[in-house]
Amino acid sequence: MVDVPLGPGGVVAPTDIDDVELYHPHSWVTKYVFAQDAKVIAIQYALVALSVGLIALVLSWLMRLQLGFPGVFAFIDANAYYQFITMHGMMMVVYVLTALFLGGFGNYLIPLMVGARDMVFPYVNMLSFWVYLLAVLVLVASFFAPGGPTGAGWTLYPPQAILSGTPGGQEWGIILMLASLMIFIIGFTMGGLNYVVTVLQARARGMTLMRMPLTVWGIFTASFMALLAFPALFVGAVMMLFDRIFGTSFFMPAIVEMGQPLDRSGGSPLLFQHLFWFFGHPEVYIVALPAFGIVSDLISTHARRNIFGYRMMVWALLAIGALSFVVWAHHMYVSGMNPYFGFFFATTTLIIAIPTAIKVYNWILTLWRGNIHLNVPMLFALAFIVTFVNGGLTGLFLGNVVVDVPLSDTMFVVAHFHMVMGVAPILVIFGAIYHWYPKVTGRMLNDTLGKIHFWVTFLGAYLIFFPMHYLGLMGIPRRYHDIADMSFVPQSAHTLNAFITIVALFVGAIQMIFVFNLFWSLRHGRPSGGNPWRATTLEWQTPETPPPHGNWGKEVPVVYRWAYDYSVPGADQDFLPQNQPGTARTAAGPAHG
C-alpha cells in the first residue's frame, strides 16, 4: 500500500510516490485480456454484463410475444416459456445488475474515487472477472444442453425445480444453473473482498470515510451485504445439487411423480425458500444501494448543489443494509407461515421505508433551488427518483400480509418488482454510463441520441408497467403460459397485454441506439477533456483522461474536503475539487446537515 510521508507538524508533505507494487503489463494480452488494472477489468465486466443483458432482453421479448399474442408463435410452448422466464430473471438480477454495479462500476470507480492506484489485490481481481465469465458461459451453455435451460422460475423452488415435469429438471438445465451460480459466487467473493478492502485500506491521505462520495459508500455497503448474503444462495445450491445428483432429501419431500412414489423422504421445500430469500432480499438492496449512491452524485453534480443531508444519507445506507437482512420472509407470506411471523416481517419491511424515504427527501431537497442542468445523466437520475418512488409505494402494498395474499402471484407483483429493481436501477446504469463515459474514453456520448434513448426508455417503461399493475389488480395471474379464459377481466382490458407487448418490442429495439452511441462516440464523440461536468470527486482530477494504469501519474492525490463543494461562494470555478487545498470557501454557503 502506498503511504504518504508526513512533513513536520503533521502537515502532508508534497507526495512523491513511486507507483510501487503495481504489476506492469508488457504485452497486449496482459494489458487488455488478462488485465490486472481495475479499470480494464471494469470494462470487461461491463461489456460481458451488457451482453448478457441483451440476451435477457431478447428473452423478455419472446415472453411478451406469447403473453400478448397467445398461440400465434408455435415455437413458444409452455416449456420454452418457462425457460425464458427463468433465464431472463436470473440473468438480469445476478449476471447483469449485480455484476454491472459491483464488478463494473465498483472496479472503475472505487480506486479512482478514493484516490488509490488500483485495487489492493489486482491479481485476485483479475481472477474474479474470469471466474465470472466462466459462470456466464456455464449458464449460457445450458441453452445448448440436452433438454435446454431450467424452467424452474428464477427462484428455483424445489421440489418442482428438480422433477421431470419442469424443463431441465431431470436433465442438464438445473445442474448447469446451480453450478453457474456457485461459480459466480466464488468469483464475486474474490471481487467483493477487493472492493471492501480497497475502501478500508487504500484511501488517499485525507479521505476519511465521511469524505467519500456516496457512490463509494453505496458500492462499499452493497459489497459487504453481498459477501454475507451470497453464501445463503451457495448453501441452497449445494444442497439442491445433492438432491438432484445424489438423490438426497434436503429439500425433497416424500412425493409422487406421475403416479410413481419417488425414493425421497420428508425433506423441506420451505427450508430452500428460507435460504433463497435470505439471499434474495438483501440482493434487492445489493442492486439498489449502488444505484442510490450513484444517483446522489449525479444529482449533486448536475444540480450544482451540495448533497442535502450527507450524514443522513450515509446513515440511511447503513440502516437499509442492516435491515435488509431481517425482512426475507415477506417473500413467503403465502407459504403458510405462522401469522406472528408475518406480522414481524411486515413490520421490518415497512420500517425500511423510513431510511429509504429519507434518501428520497434528501435528493429532492438537493434539487430544490439548485442550478439544474437537464443533460442526459441528470434526466436519467430524475427518472430514477420518480420510478423508485412508484415501485417503492407498491412495495408498501405488498409488504402488508393481508394485501399481499390476494395480490401474490398476480401481474401486480411482476409490475412492482420490475419498477423497483428492474427499471429503476437500469435507469441509473444508463445515467452513470452517460456520466462516466467521458472519463473512460475521453469523449462525450452523443447528446441527441442520448435524449432519444432517454425519453423512449423512460416513457416506454411506464407504458409497459403501469398497465401491468392494473392487470394484476384485475386478477391476471403471473407465471401462466396461456390465460385461456379472460372473461373475468373487463372487456376493455383484453387488449392490454398486446399493447404492452408492442411497446416492449419497440422500447427494446430502441436500446440499439444506445449500443450504437457507445461505439460511434468512441471515434466520433466530442472530446471531453478531463472534467467535462466540472465535478469535485477525485476521478475527474486525474492528470490524464482516460487515466492510465496507476491512475495518478507521479503523485497520488491528497484530499482536503468532502465531495460536494458545489456553487461555493467566492470560488473561482463555482466548485472545489476534493484535492484542492486552500480556503476559498466562505462561511456564507448554507451548510446542510
Binding site: M1, L6, G10, V11, V12, V120, F121, T189, L193, V197, L200, Q201, R205, G206, M207, T208, L209, M210, R211, L227, L228, P231, A232, F234, V235, V238, M239, F242, F246, G247, T248, S249, F250, A254, S265, G266, G267, S268, L271, H274, L275, F278, N306, Y310, R311, W315, L318, A322, F325, V558, V559, Y560, R561, W562, P581, T583, R585, A591, H592, G593
Partner: protein, 234 residues
Amino acid sequence: MASILLFLSLLALIGAWWLSRQGLASKPWLEQGATAALPPADDTPTPASKVALWILLAVIGSFFALFISAYSMRMQLPDWRAVPVPTILWLNTGMLALSSVALHGARNAARRGEMTDLRWGLVAAGVAALAFLSGQLVAWQQLTGEGYRLAANPASDFFYVLTGLHGLHLLGGLVWLGGTIQKAWRTSDTGSLRLPVDLCATYWHFLLFVWLIVLSILTGWAGEFIDICRQILT
C-alpha cells in the same frame, strides 16, 4: 434461521463498534484540509491482506452458520435418524488441534526470527492437517460401511456435506500453506515470512473453531443450543 441471525448480529455489533470510531457523526462540509484524517505518526497500518482474511473469515463463518441453520430446521422433521459418530473423529480432532498448535509455534518462531523452528513448524502443521483430512476420509468409509451412505438419511447427508465442505476449506488453506513452505525453504529472512505465516495461523485457528462447532452439532452436544434457538423463533 436463528444461528445465522445470531452470527450476523455478532458481525453487526463488531461493525457498529468499528463504525462508531470512524467519525460518522462528523460534519464533513465544515471541515477543510488534509490533517483531520492523519493517523498518529507511529501508527503502522494493518496490512490489507490481514483485513481481507478477517472479512473472508466472516464470509466463511456465515456460510457455516447458514448450514447449521439448515441443519437445525431439517432435523425437526420426522424422517431424521441420528448417525453414530465414528470414533476416529476424536483422533482427527486431535490432529487438527495439533496442526493449529504447530502453526502457532511457527508464528512465534517467525517473530523470534528462528528459521529452523519456523520451517519445521510449517511442515508439522501441513502433515497434521493432511492426517486430519485422511482421517475424515476414513470416517466416511466407516459410516458407509455401517450403512449410512449418502442419501440414506438426512442426518448422514449433512454429515458428508458438512465434513466435506470443511475439508475443502482446509484443502484451500493447504495450498496457501504449501506456497508458504516453499517460500520458507527459499529464503532465510524470517521477516518476510511473518505475514504469510500469521495469516495461515489465523485461518487454521478459525477452521479448528469451525470444526469444533460442526463436531458438537454432529454429535448432538449442541442439541440444547439448537433447541433454544428454535424456541426463539417459535
